[in-house]
């Protein structure tokens, strides 16, 4: 226990007032824990880790961790992360975003970050709703689900984050949940060590804004739902009828160098050609 306390003091900011802003039953704190455990497991120096967050509940994660932290404008976390990574490729840059952040307002930036394969880890906290804004639908709200801006049930279909990111060309794509914490830790740790653009989708419940309006009786019930409906990719693939089940695990693992590496190689080539006189 003492070791855990020490770790908490090492990675979380003393001068930041706790408790967290998150509601009871929210999964964001679990993702925060997973993030810290992954960084610890990899032995990364705090000075070399940069958390770039967007706006919303997930964006607040940045303020609690004792890394270099940037809380950007809504939807633009990946653009700032791209700038930081290109300016200093030695840094481990993690963009923490919500589903609205990453796939609604920031959708264009996400597909382009995946396409250009910038060496950033995107951690998307998907709770199917705009939480901090007060429960409006997002581009991942399931069809038929209720929200304050889809009071008759969502008519639009939802993005499949994994499929979209895979199609855009990301080097790594995986999905975990805050119920399957050990697996989430492993997925995030893996993503942080791989080159290029790696996205981890973390399914996390928002009981306050999503659960209550969609028939969940408690936050615990939402965790139970995650437990029952998510299953490892290998087992999902064997199902004859997926019937609303959600596969979790690692979907894409391509070992391709990130843009920052390719850019540095190009510049080095130019200098070599000029005999170092550039």
């Amino acid at each position: 226990m003492a070791e855990i306390t020490q770790l908490i003091h090492h990675y979380l900011r003393h001068n930041k007032k706790f408790p967290l802003v998150f509601c009871p039953g929210c999964g964001h704190g679990i993702v925060l824990g997973s993030l810290v455990r992954s960084v610890h497991a990899l032995g990364l120096a705090k000075d070399n880790v940069v958390i770039v967050a967007g706006i919303g509940c997930s964006g607040r994660i940045a303020a609690y961790v004792d890394f270099n932290t940037v809380h950007t404008t809504h939807g633009r976390a990946l653009t700032v992360a791209t700038g930081i990574k290109m300016a200093n490729p030695k840094l481990t840059v993690i963009a923490v975003m919500g589903d609205g952040d990453a796939f609604s307002i920031g959708g264009n930036h996400l597909i382009h970050a995946a396409r250009r394969n910038i060496g950033v880890t995107a951690l998307v906290l998907n709770n199917f709703i705009y939480g901090m804004t007060g429960g409006q639908c997002s581009s991942t709200t399931p069809e038929g689900a209720y929200s304050h801006t889809s009071p008759m049930g969502q008519l639009e279909s939802a993005f499949d984050i994994v499929e979209l990111t895979r199609a855009a060309g990301a080097a790594g794509v995986s999905r975990g949940t805050v119920f399957h914490v050990k697996e989430l830790d492993a997925l995030l740790t893996d993503a942080l060590t791989r080159p290029g653009f790696n996205l981890v989708e973390a399914l996390t419940p928002c009981f306050t804004q999503y659960g209550r309006g969609n028939g969940f009786k408690s936050a615990v019930e939402m965790f139970r739902w995650l437990k029952n409906s998510c299953l490892p990719l290998e087992r999902y693939a064997k199902l004859e009828d997926p019937g609303g089940k959600i596969p979790i695990g690692s979907f894409v693992r391509r070992d391709v160098p990130g843009l920052e590496t390719r850019y540095a190689a190009m510049c080095q080539g130019l200098r070599a050609k000029k005999g170092g006189a550039a």
Partner: protein
Amino acid sequence: MTTPRNKRREAFLLGNEAVVEGALAAGCSFYAGYPITPSTEIMECMAKRLPHVPDGVFIQMEDEIASMGAIIGGSLAGRKVMTATSGPGFSLMQEQIGYAAMTETPLVLVNVMRGGASTGLPTSPGQGDVQQARWGAHGDHPIIVLSATDVPECVEMAVTAFNFAEKYRTPVILLLDEITAHTREKISLPEPGDFEIVSRLTPTMPPEWYKPFEETMRGVPPMPPIGSGYRFHVTGLTHDAQGFPTSRPEEVRALTERQFRKIDRFFEDIQLVEHVETADAEVVVIAYGCVARSARLAVRQAREAGVRAGLLVLKTLYPFPRRHVEPLLRSTRLAVVPELNMGQLSREVKRVNEGHTTVRTINRIDGQIITPSQILKEIA
């Protein structure tokens, strides 16, 4: 054995290309942008040049919003950064300009103005973004806006823009117009030592003592690059001296007032103008950008015709150089403000004037230049 010091490299450059020369001379090593006429040459030139600059980074982003995000990131990581755009792109960048002002992130944004609202006149000149440059981003924030009249001045003002951005930890907007950007003139390429180059102050205290948004003697706190051991929080939310969000009235007020004061206190350094025969002038033309070139000829012709005319060229548009404009409005019988818009800077002149002299505006919005004779007609 002597080497002639004045053997300079000369070039025949566009205003846009000169901006790149100035930026590189100032130490710019990071450019992110999205192509848009008439600013594109800046980006194309940077794409060629930056890979040869040590650690130079060029990246074409997916849109203007992303470009601003990328240079903000680059600046936080310690680089001198720039982007360039034109009207429609400039509008998209506004939210991030406010973010850069709030987080006190140094950056240079070149806006080569084109005519009209919306897509307007992509290849014709205009000066319609003056008020947008000052007030485009939401909320109260100070900003520095510069302009240039010709190609050599594009070099000079690009360097100045970087120096101000670094010195005052603030976004600086360099407003050009299509004519200045697309005029080709012979210039001497900048050599090391031509300009004083300023870089941001970095902290020297131990990391645990550092407060990223602390009040200092100059009002401008030092800024370490991300990854240098000073871990701190950057947010667009109103924050305390440590950088954490706050809504306590005294902390909110302290932050905003310091951000304004760090610019206000240095008006003398920031407000740049050029006086042309204003000492004994009874008529003064106040102009900026390409219009100032027409005005220069008009004033000379007026002098030849016996009218005591003078010209005040505004190199800084904001903070508005009141300390230069006001005395002239007190000492002349007529001030003429020619502009390629419906009167965006003449509003400022009239605000400062407070009825002391006659202010006459010349406004042209048809994508054509204001000619010397057009100005001469108003002053002679």
